[in-house]
C-alpha cells in the first residue's frame, strides 16, 4: 500500500513526510523527522511523555495518526526553546532539580508551556490538575510544581530571586 504524503508545520518550519496509514504522529516525529525528544512511555495516552501541542492544544502524539497532522501546526519539545535560550519552564526545571531520570521531562515541559501560554498565573491546584496527564516516577511532583510556579512568576515579570 502506498504511503501517505503529509505536509504540516513542525516547530515553525514547513515539513513534508511520508507515513503509513496506521503510523502514529509519535512514530513519525521520532522515526521520520528525527525529533526524538518526544518519548514513548505507555503508548496508550496515560503517561504524557509524548505530549506535543497541535493547533494550540496539548495531545498525546501516541494517540494521533501521522496522517492526521496534514495541515496542522505542531510544537514539540525541540521547538520550545528560543534558539540557544531555554524556555523559562526548561530553565526552572534545571534550577529546581525537577527531574531525575528525565524520561517524562519533555512531556511535562510541553504541557507546562501550554498551560502558561493560556494561563499566566495558575494556582497550584490548577497546575496539578493540568499536569495530571503527565506521570513522573522519580520526583514525587513537588519540585515540578514549584518549577512551573517559578517559571510562571518569571514570565509575568516578577523577580522571585530578588
Amino acid at each position: 500500500m502506498s504511503k501517505i504524503h503529509v505536509t504540516s508545520v513542525v516547530n515553525g518550519e514547513p515539513v513534508e513526510f511520508l507515513c503509513e496509514g496506521g503510523q502514529t504522529l509519535l512514530d513519525v516525529l521520532r522515526d521520520e523527522l528525527g525529533l526524538t525528544g518526544s518519548k514513548e512511555g505507555c503508548s496508550t495516552g496515560d503517561c504524557g511523555a509524548c505530549t506535543v501541542i497541535v493547533d494550540g492544544r496539548v495531545v498525546c502524539s501516541c494517540l494521533m495518526l501521522g496522517a492526521e497532522a496534514a495541515g496542522r501546526t505542531i510544537t514539540t519539545i525541540e521547538g520550545i526553546a528560543d534558539g540557544e535560550k531555554l524556555h523559562p519552564v526548561q530553565q526552572k526545571f534545571l534550577e529546581h532539580a525537577a527531574l531525575q531520570c528525565g524520561f517524562c521531562t519533555p512531556g511535562f515541559l510541553v504541557a507546562a508551556k501550554a498551560l502558561l501560554d493560556h494561563n499566566p498565573d495558575p494556582s497550584e491546584t490548577e497546575i496539578r490538575y493540568w499536569l495530571a496527564g503527565n506521570l513522573c516516577r522519580c520526583t514525587g511532583y513537588d519540585k515540578i510544581i514549584r518549577a512551573v510556579q517559578d517559571a510562571a512568576a518569571e514570565m509575568r515579570g516578577e523577580n522571585t530571586h530578588g
Partner: protein
C-alpha cells in the same frame, strides 16, 4: 498497525459511500483516544481508518431554533470552553470535561465516548438525561435515535454496518431547568468511573419538580436511563423524602460488576447517593436558569 489505508472524507455522503464499500472492514476515527489504543493492542484490525473530522457537521457547535447541535467529533476541550453550552447544559459539559487529562481532552470527543460503548463513559449519562438525540448517517440515509438506544452492551452499539454518528442535538432549554453530573472515583483525577449519575430537571415557581430525567453510568452493562428514579421526584419539592425515594430507585436499577474499583454493594449504594446529590445541584441550577 501499519498496513491500513487512511481516508479523510469531507462530506457525510463521501463517508457513507466509503463505509459502505468497506464491507465492515473500516473503523471510524474521531478523536482516536480509544481507537488507537485498540489498534495498538491488536483488538481491532481494520483495513481502513475513516477520519470523520473533515466533515464540517461533525466539527460544529451551533444553536438553532430547536436547541443546540454538537458535532460528534468536536473535541471535549472545545465543548468545555463553549460559553453557550456551559450556560444551558452544565451537566452535559461537566461529564464530557471529566474524560481524561488535558491531553485527552484535546482529542477525545462526545461521539467517540458514546460509540466506544463503555458502561462507564462519563459523557453519556449527561447526554441521556438531557434527552439528546443522535443523528446517524448510513447507506439508508439519515436517522435520529435517542442516546440511550445506542449502547447495547460493552463495546457494542446499535449502529448498523456502514452507519456513523454525525452528532447530537440537545433540545431547547425551558425556563427553570438545570442538569448536573457527578462521578465517584477513588482519587481526584485520571480514573474510570465507579459510579456516574446525571440528573436533568425542571422546577416551577414554587420549587416543585415538573419534569426530570435520571441516568446512571458504570452500574450496569450499559449506561441506564432510570425512569422510576425520575418519577420519584416529579411533583415533589425535592425534599428529603423525595431524594430518599430517588436514591432508592436509582440503587434498585443497578446491575453492576464487582471489580477492583468497587463491589456490587458499594456501587449500588453510591449510585443512590450520587443521584440524590446530582438532583440537588441540578435543582439549584434550575432556580438560577
Amino acid at each position: 498497525m501499519a498496513a491500513m489505508e487512511f481516508v479523510a472524507p469531507s462530506s457525510i455522503a463521501d463517508a457513507v459511500s466509503i463505509l459502505k464499500a468497506s464491507n465492515g472492514n473500516a473503523r471510524v476515527l474521531a478523536g482516536g483516544t480509544d481507537l488507537l489504543v485498540q489498534l495498538r493492542s491488536g483488538h481491532t484490525h481494520p483495513q481502513q481508518i475513516v477520519d470523520i473530522k473533515h466533515i464540517p457537521e461533525t466539527r460544529t457547535i451551533r444553536e438553532d431554533a430547536d436547541g443546540i447541535w454538537v458535532g460528534a467529533a468536536v473535541c471535549n476541550a472545545e465543548i468545555g470552553e463553549h460559553a453557550v453550552l456551559r450556560a444551558h447544559w452544565p451537566g452535559v459539559v461537566e461529564g464530557l470535561e471529566l474524560i481524561g487529562s488535558a491531553q485527552i481532552q484535546g482529542r477525545s470527543t462526545p461521539g467517540g465516548n458514546l460509540c466506544n460503548a463503555s458502561p462507564a463513559a462519563d459523557g453519556v449519562p449527561g447526554l441521556i438525561a438531557a434527552r439528546a438525540d443522535c443523528l446517524i448517517a448510513g447507506p439508508g440515509g439519515e436517522r435520529r435515535a435517542p442516546v440511550e438506544t445506542i449502547v447495547l452492551a460493552p463495546g457494542r452499539t446499535s449502529l448498523e454496518p456502514g452507519e456513523f454518528l454525525v452528532g447530537f442535538h440537545l433540545p431547547k432549554r425551558t425556563a427553570k431547568s438545570g442538569d448536573a453530573y457527578l462521578r465517584f472515583i477513588p482519587r481526584t483525577e485520571m480514573d474510570i468511573a465507579v459510579v456516574g449519575a446525571a440528573v436533568n430537571l425542571t422546577v416551577d415557581g414554587s420549587g416543585a419538580v415538573t419534569a426530570a430525567r435520571v441516568a446512571l453510568g458504570a452500574v450496569a452493562p450499559t449506561p441506564l436511563l432510570v425512569a422510576p428514579a425520575a418519577a420519584a421526584i416529579i411533583g415533589s419539592p425535592l425534599d428529603d423524602a423525595a431524594l430518599e425515594r430517588l436514591a432508592s430507585a436509582a440503587s434498585a436499577a443497578c446491575n453492576p460488576i464487582d471489580d477492583k474499583r468497587g463491589t456490587v454493594a458499594y456501587r449500588t449504594k453510591v449510585a443512590g447517593v450520587l443521584a440524590a446529590r446530582a438532583a440537588r445541584i441540578a435543582a439549584a441550577r434550575a432556580e438560577q436558569y
